[in-house]
């Protein structure tokens, strides 16, 4: 007897349909599984056998062949358990076949027949909704699947529920009301950053224009503290963006609590991370930190310590907003549109060359600076130096809260979007757009020309200064880019040899 059920495999952050075919023949009892299964999939056989028996069904003592199609796609993980068990029950005529043809099935089986949750269910539910069929998942996954508009979701606690579904005795869940992305209230607040006016300012400019920011300063200056507060001043995600982020989190096995949506992610990989860990890789291809940071912030602490290959791998995604991982069987593309913030010490000992406490040798300092300036030199529109906060600053009033800053940022972003198009920020301006929107007024142009000799900036360097000046003008509510905005942008420029 032959039976077939449908399920999904996760590739990158997408759900790919997989057919489970079961063939049961007379012969010596055996259970073989084909379709490039990984060890977890091979172990499905044990889980399925125990689950079926413990749910009160019969496990056919015949020759069983399971095929997971397409045959040349590597299968990984325990997510096929449910579909395999269902197909066996159908093939052995213990549950009716036709009703299950309307359902995608996804879940891991426990030995007692109960159904366990899986990563990536949101992606699966999206695909299911597109196909017009419903999806049956573990109860723990049902809330997540329900986030998808138009999804028909059946919540199963055990194989008995599956049988009920097949017999038409189980109703799908009612559609959930569309949920809202979480408010910024739960994020770390800028009020925690005391003093450090220039750093707060730089964060505000970075948020308003989507500019990459490099903060250089001694340990204890608050660089990491500040970076972690950037998500709280960024505008809230749109629903579509929130679904995107939640989908990625779900695939990574880190979904938010049942039925809620994620806010902007904040990722801070350690500097020992490999290129594959940073941008994605492995076989089957898995999302890297930049995809986990999609629509959010990627924070690189100790920028100079990151491996050069890892940083080079960031270049293209920073430019394009996605990453492509090529494999023999085809390419996998994953989104990676993030804002980058990095922190670095000013010299190997951390104090900075001009401090009396610095004892670094000149060659150590030069080598350190060379490493730092080679690291994504042209990706940071903003670069500022900070000191450790003084005692007065720490004892003083808390700074402005995120809510107030976020309001200004949102307004500035709106001005930019009205010029460039929805969702676009100043950092992404092309040269023609710069000419159109960021030309300084007379005073500003004078300032630029005067600065030309002093600064030795390349053409690209000047473009970056203009982008930042445009953002400063937006924050000021000014249509024109004036001398003040140019000067501010100059004081925050990235100073490297290009």
């Amino acid at each position: 007897m032959l039976a077939r059920t449908r399920t999904f495999a996760i590739q990158g952050i997408d759900a790919v349909p997989v057919d489970v075919e079961i063939d049961i023949h007379r012969g010596l009892p055996a259970f073989s599984l084909v379709g490039l299964p990984d060890p977890a999939v091979r172990e499905s056989r044990e889980r399925v056998r125990a689950a079926i028996v413990n749910s009160g069904f019969e496990f056919p003592l015949k020759r069983i062949t399971a095929s997971l199609a397409p045959a040349d796609l590597r299968k990984a993980g325990p997510g096929f358990d449910l579909a395999i068990a269902a197909a066996i029950l159908c093939a052995s005529e213990q549950i009716p076949v036709e009703p299950l043809e309307l359902w995608w099935l996804a879940g891991e089986l426990a030995l007692d027949g109960s159904i366990r949750s899986l990563p990536g269910v949101l992606a699966m539910a999206e695909r299911a909704a597109l196909s017009g069929s419903g999806i049956a998942v573990a109860a723990a996954n049902a809330g997540e699947a329900g986030l998808v508009e138009g999804a028909v979701v059946a919540s199963l606690r055990s194989l008995s529920d599956l049988a009920a579904l097949a017999r038409g005795e189980l109703e799908p869940l009612p559609p959930a009301p569309p949920s809202v992305p979480p408010a910024a209230v739960d994020l770390p607040d800028m009020a925690d950053l005391r003093g450090q006016a220039a750093l707060r300012n730089a964060l505000e400019v970075a948020a308003a224009g989507g500019h990459g920011l490099l903060v250089t300063g001694p340990p204890g200056a608050g660089k990491s503290l500040a970076a972690r507060r950037l998500p709280s001043i960024l505008p809230p995600l749109t629903r579509a963006e929130a679904i995107e982020v939640t989908r990625i989190a779900s695939v990574a096995g880190r979904p938010p609590p049942d039925g809620t949506l994620c806010g902007r992610p904040f990722r801070a990989p350690h500097h020992t991370i490999s290129p594959a860990g940073l941008v994605g890789g492995g076989s089957p291809p898995r999302a890297g930190e930049i995809t986990l940071a999609h629509r959010g912030v990627l924070f690189l602490d100790e920028l100079g310590e990151f491996g050069r290959t890892a940083l080079e791998a960031l270049r293209q995604p920073l430019e394009e907003g996605f990453v492509t991982i090529a494999r023999a069987r085809g390419t996998v593309t994953m989104p990676a549109r993030f804002q980058i913030v990095a922190a670095a010490n000013p010299c190997p000992c951390g104090h900075g060359e001009d401090s009396p406490r610095c004892r670094c040798r000149p060659d150590q300092i030069r080598a350190f600076e060379a490493r730092l300036s080679g690291a994504l030199a042209d990706r940071f529109d903003l670069s500022i130096a900070v000191d450790q906060p003084t005692a007065e600053e720490l004892a003083g009033d808390p700074g402005e809260s995120s809510a107030a800053i976020a309001a200004r940022v949102a307004e500035a972003r709106e001005r930019a979007a009205s010029r460039l198009g929805p969702g676009r920020a100043n950092a992404s301006m092309t040269e023609p757009e710069l000419t159109l929107h960021a030309e300084p007024d007379d005073e500003g142009s004078e300032a630029l020309a005067a600065g030309h000799a002093s600064f030795g900036l390349s053409g690209r360097g000047w473009s970056r200064v203009l982008k930042v000046a445009r953002t400063c003008a937006d924050l000021d509510g000014s249509d024109a880019v004036g001398r003040r905005h140019i000067d501010r942008a100059l004081s925050m420029r990235r100073r490297t040899k290009e």
């Binding site: 006016a197 220039a198 130096a385 900070v386």
Partner: protein, 372 residues
């Protein structure tokens, strides 16, 4: 082509090069004095003192090589010249060193310049290899303005103050002379090779040692005596208490020259050597004018550069940077100004040349004078 160094002086130079390792062993710690004493000895005495078992061999070898023109061929190949006290082009300034003066000199750059080296129109600028932004800035500006006033800038092409001084002199359109511890035909340290090339064009690189000499530590304080002798004034810009540049200052005093020092923050280890010199009576050097007064007598004037006028906020921000604030945040705290205004002020100040920012974005004051 006029005469180079005579065979006897050439042989002396080759002896120094050949016995370099032995001299290093003999010098043991007090490099300044010992090296100078050894260099005052005759060839035979020197060989006997540092390599008693091989003296005869070493002497013979040096004389052979001098006779066989191999050195001269090497000189020609690298575009270098040689001279010695027996030649008319030898700088008279070295007579001040007496018995420990150099014999053969090897050099790169326009040889004719040797005849115009006048200690009364030259200043030696030395300082720490580990100088910070302050030391480098001051050395650069001193050299630049002195060179602009027609004063030769002498230094040792080391990292830090020396390099900044050479750069400044070249930027000022004047002449600079580098006295090298190794041979004159190649840059040492190697990282200075671009500077070395420009010094060859805009001045001279001179050494007491023949091309191809190995490099030993005793050669550096040894060359310091040459630097001290070539200029009437030696200025120490930024030196810690144990800096080799203090040896140069000592040698200047012993040769009857004048010593000046640039003061620095009293809590900075970088300036502790300079401040000590000042406490012991060295002349205070605040700017190029102070150096010119030492060289040319009181009242030596020169135009001092000033920049454009500043508005109220820019002035306050500039004062904050002068007071040690190196970041926008620190300037904001010092002035109480709003951070956006501080950033704009710093950008404007940097445009106008009053401050400069390093690779990490930390600000420091340049030597550009206040307007009016």
């Amino acid at each position: 082509m006029s005469r180079g160094a005579c065979p006897s002086c050439l042989s002396r130079a080759l002896l120094l090069s050949g016995l370099a390792a032995h001299i290093e062993k003999s010098v043991d710690g007090r490099a300044g004095e010992r090296a100078r004493d050894l260099l005052a000895l005759s060839d035979e005495e020197l060989a006997a003192a540092v390599a008693p078992n091989r003296a005869g061999q070493a002497l013979g070898k040096a004389r052979d090589r001098a006779a066989h023109d191999t050195v001269l061929a090497a000189l020609e190949a690298t575009g270098c010249w040689s001279t010695c006290p027996h030649a008319p082009s030898f700088p008279a300034a070295f007579a001040a060193l007496g018995a420990s003066g150099p014999r053969a000199l090897f050099g790169a750059g326009a040889r004719i310049g040797l005849t115009t080296l006048d200690p009364g129109r030259a200043a030696t600028i030395v300082g720490s290899r580990r100088a910070g932004p302050y030391g480098r800035e001051v050395a650069h500006e001193l050299a630049r303005l002195l060179a602009g006033a027609g004063i030769d800038v002498i230094s040792g092409m080391a990292l830090g103050v020396d390099s900044a001084a050479h750069e400044g002199a070249l930027a000022g359109g004047g002449r600079t002379v580098a006295i090298l511890g190794a041979g004159a035909e190649r840059p040492y340290p190697r990282s200075r090779r671009h500077l070395y090339e420009r010094i060859r064009t805009g001045g001279m690189a001179i050494s007491e040692l023949p091309p191809g000499s190995p490099t030993f530590r005793w050669m550096f304080p040894a060359r310091n005596r040459l630097m001290a002798a070539l200029a009437e004034v030696t200025v120490v810009v930024e030196a810690a208490e144990r800096s080799g540049s203090l040896i140069t200052a000592e040698m200047a005093i012993e040769s009857g020259r004048q010593v000046g020092a640039v003061p620095g923050p009293v809590n900075s280890w970088r300036s502790s050597g300079c401040n000590k010199l000042l406490a012991e009576g060295a002349a205070v050097i605040r700017d190029a004018r102070d150096v010119l007064e030492l060289l040319l007598g009181p009242g030596a004037s020169m135009t001092v550069e000033g920049g454009r006028n500043l508005d109220e906020r820019e002035r306050e921000a500039l004062e904050a940077v002068e007071g040690g604030a190196a970041t926008a945040g620190a300037v904001a705290v010092a002035t109480g100004l709003e951070s956006g205004m501080v950033q704009a002020a710093l950008g404007a100040l940097e445009r106008a040349g009053y401050v400069r920012s390093g690779p990490t974005g930390r600000y420091s004051r340049t030597a550009l004078g206040h307007p009016g």
